[in-house]
């Protein structure tokens, strides 16, 4: 034991290279954090100072006006938050239930249709009809345009999660437990919910987290299916605000007009559009940025299992 530690000690890099490597990683880490700091700084700036000095890491004069503006009217961002959170929660719950049930069934070696239903999923990983046909099915056949279902359904039943879960069930749920429960006359639902799932909490956490991020960060489905302003989620509201400069101005001047009872160009030009957009980004990044450091082992598990056995 002592011998081993001496070898590891001897085998370490020199103090000098350690300092150099640490310096490199500090630079890399800053490169990951500072861009977000820039966004935060803009959101906290005074609109007028941005016009003078441009976007800066340290605001010339600090102002919370942008956040006050966003939070004043629940229609501004509250609604988008509600859409995003509703879809995320519903999506995660349905994804975990649907995928784990499917994965469990095909993980059972005695299930005679296991290979058929595995191939059904495998084909979806290899070949897809593509976006136009997907769009056609959703809009022309199912008439899901401008519905919450159009934001929810596309993220469900992902083959990647199903295969990761199948592998996990096969490796971590002993066949004997299932067989003895069957001998005792337990129904499949009972076996699954009271025996298999409690043994599989880590993989359920992994799939929940990945699908939570998918739903929180998704703007593509809104781009395809959502026109109704009331159904904009957070990402799509932000997306509109950067793609279409007029969008946010109109949005804000509507607010201004509803509170000041008259529309005037001067009002809308006073609206802090630059800083409000960035405040929206800060609020839209989401809880994940605070939570992920504590949950990273689940992400890493999903990646290391999934990247190889995807």
């Amino acid at each position: 034991m002592k011998n081993k530690s001496r070898v590891t000690e001897y085998n370490s890099i020199s103090g000098f290279s350690n300092v150099v490597l640490n310096a490199c990683f500090i630079v890399y880490s800053l490169a990951c954090i500072l861009p977000l700091a820039l966004i935060l700084s803009i959101s906290l700036s005074d609109e007028a100072s941005i016009i003078n000095t441009g976007y800066r890491f340290i605001p010339e004069s600090v102002s919370l006006k942008s956040y006050a503006f966003l939070l004043k009217d629940p229609n501004m961002i509250g609604r988008a938050y509600a859409v995003t959170i509703f879809i995320m929660v519903a999506g995660v719950v349905l994804n975990v239930i649907i995928n784990s049930m499917y994965a469990y069934a095909i993980s059972r070696k005695d299930f005679p249709f296991s290979s058929f239903f595995s191939i059904v999923i495998l084909i979806t990983l290899l070949f897809n009809g593509g976006i136009p046909m997907f769009y056609y099915v959703y809009v022309r056949i199912l008439h899901l345009k401008d519905s919450l279902l159009a934001l929810l359904l596309p993220g469900l039943g992902a083959g990647f999660y199903i295969f990761v879960m199948r592998t996990y069930f096969r490796q971590n749920v002993p066949v004997e437990i299932i067989e003895s429960a069957k001998m005792d006359g337990a129904k499949e639902t009972k076996i699954f919910f009271s025996l298999v799932l409690p043994l599989s909490l880590p993989i359920l956490a992994t799939v929940s987290l990945f699908s939570a991020i998918y739903y929180w960060n998704d703007f593509f489905n809104s781009l395809l299916f959502i026109e109704d302003r009331k159904l904009y989620n957070l990402q799509y509201t932000m997306q509109r605000a950067i793609m279409n400069m007029e969008f946010i101005r109109r949005q804000l001047s509507l607010l201004a007009s509803s509170s000041a009872s008259q529309i005037s160009r001067s009002v809308s030009s006073q609206v802090p559009t630059e800083t409000v957009r960035m405040a929206m980004v800060i609020l839209g990044i989401g809880p994940i940025i605070i939570l992920y450091p504590f949950l990273q082992k689940y992400f890493i598990k999903g990646l290391t299992v999934g990247s190889i056995k995807g």
Binding site: Y28, S29, L38, Y102, T124, M133, F219, G284, Q296, L303
Partner: protein, 318 residues
Amino acid sequence: MMQQLGQCFNENRKRRTFIKSLIEYKGLLLFVLPGFIVVLINNYLPMLGVIMAFKRVDNTLGILKSPFVGLDNFKFLFMTDAFRITRNTVLYNLVGIFIGLLLNLIIAITINELLNKFLARVYQTVIILPYFLSFVVIGYIVYAFLSPVHGFVNFSILPLLGMDKISWYTEPIYWIFILPLVNFWVYCGMESVIYLAAITGIDETLYESAVIDGANKRQQIVHITLPMLTPVMIVLTLLGLGKIFRGNFGLFYQVPLSNAALFPVTDVIDTYVYRSLVTMPDFGMVTAASVYQSVVGCIMLIAANMLVKRISPQDAIF
């Protein structure tokens, strides 16, 4: 005669066992049902739509009654944009795969060597942060740096260097470098984690005996770490090559803010298909580009998997 009877009997028995197992496993069949329905809607119904690529879709007639036009839609695609979007998709993917591999390896190997393990964990946590941001947010970040009006680069960096302002969103040349850079910024932290996991799995005694034989750090990396990582490297690279016809929509659409001036270097198959879908009235034309991508992509994936199978069978996807 007897043979025929026997066959008939066999068929009957097969059918009976089929029905029997349907009944016996009805619980598990109910388990797959919701997922099966979802996959039917999301994946299999759209696959039938491939037929549209061979038609001139007339919305008043519907898909089935629209006239067949053979390969006209594909001919049109290959005469116009196919080369540009294929080149962009494939080249950016190649850069992502090979330079990405190099960066991932460097990050994983060096972070593993750091003396202070606590600091190493802090760095690792921080460098995976970009992975959790949406491409809308990343688009804003790039815009905060490059905006021609208020951007940090134009306002604070270029004047320091005595350079003129650059109109970033109308000059294609810069995006050949910006897009891969953003791509690495987003994914390298997370991808290097896979290699790091593989490195920590290497048997410690290999290094111990190498030290006893007088191998230095560089020799250990070249003769132990890299060879031990080779299977992971091969598998991930081949899987990447299998997806070489798929472009990352968020990266190529949202980061350049879909600026038409940049299309020569930012348009990939996925962004092209989306834009055509929004602007072109003819579903047949749009579908052709998408079918082209799916078919070639599928062939690449199967080929990549066959190669993986030959090199390390246990890592094949199917």
